[in-house]
Subunit: 212 residues, 2 copies
């Protein structure tokens, strides 16, 4: 079960709340980028960034010089992952909505100091975007690791919301001569585009090509 | 031109910065949902939500009872819109990246009190998701409007970042026998799914059907 702190108790649209930890994992594991909220000089900043999950820890990374990552350390952060699954087109403007799955996690981020955990975190981030890729490419060397900060956020306090299905109109509106329904939306991979500098004779590996 | 305040001056990956206001409009106008960052009890909260733009004002809406919207009023907020255009698969883990377009706007949100502007803002939000839809559906009546808060954020302070193109590897890595390139990603509309309660004889209007 997910925690039920004040800020993770869904108040608006409570019937959309999901409370199983498996629902949190499902939303996070299906994502490519998250939106990381940090506090910089008293103002929120929302940064799109790659992430990875290992168990109940979410990892993000960045340059050791990035102000946003420094701002995240020791302060509360919020990570949100959103999948937009469709537009919910109702008969009234008021009842328009979207179908979506979203997860929100709050907590204090810590910087990962342990070298093995840093590598595990970076592997999780690369594998989140492209499963199978970490083993296919050159691993980070010492200088690269020194330039990379890895942050860990415990998934202790999180909420999940899901909306699915057709519009819900006011009863008296169902007779209006207005089309209503859902316009589904998906992410679609295109054909892989080889680097212009790719050496001859190297074909697209299966773990990449099967998506396109 | 966009403003160049301390927080909108792109420091990491400065060559990805775009400084024309037209670039800001292009990123915002191509989006469906934004991620709104607000401060709640000293902690950032990142909320996915619909939005619309009219000139240099961005509108979001929500229930008048929503704590997150109340938290946004009179406090600094950040709105981020992100388009993920592809995965940048390099020969080294370190040089992996994503192709994207993102816009970030900071400012103080105000609640829209004027009825005409409230309607304009709501229309912009509906039209952002589905152009042509506002005129096709029942307009909000007084009770619905009373339940809806519309917030306006001036687009005075904003930054835009864009990454495109193939990976950039270390020179000594180009000879490695590793596939590299870009895996493009797009959003794809599915076929419209009629509401099970749709009255017979109502076909999908052109402004919706042309997408599917």
């Amino acid at each position: 079960m997910l925690s039920t702190t004040a800020r993770t108790t869904v108040r608006r649209g409570a019937k959309r709340a999901r409370t199983d930890r498996a629902d949190l994992y499902a939303v996070l594991d299906a994502g490519l980028v998250c939106h990381l909220g940090v506090l910089v000089d008293g103002s929120p900043r929302v940064i799109p960034t790659a992430y990875g999950r290992l168990g109940d820890t979410l990892y993000v990374h960045g340059s050791t010089g990035a102000a946003s990552l420094r701002a995240a350390l020791g302060h509360p952060v919020c990570v949100t992952v959103t999948h937009l699954d469709g537009l919910v087109l109702a008969r009234s403007a008021f009842h328009h909505s979207v179908n979506y799955r979203s997860a929100m996690a709050y907590g204090l981020a810590r910087i990962v100091e342990d070298d093995a955990e840093r590598l595990d975190g970076l592997r999780a981030i690369v594998e989140q975007l492209t499963p199978g890729q970490w083993e296919a490419v050159r691993a980070p060397h010492r200088k690269e690791l020194a330039k990379t900060a890895v942050l860990a956020l415990p998934l202790d306090e999180a909420s999940v919301k899901v909306r699915q299905g057709p519009p819900v109109d006011d009863e008296e509106d169902y007779d209006l001569p207005i089309w209503a329904g859902v316009l589904p939306l998906t992410m679609a991979w295109g054909a892989p585009e080889p680097d212009p500098r790719l050496s001859p004779g190297i074909s697209v590996p299966d773990h990449i090509g099967h998506r396109g």
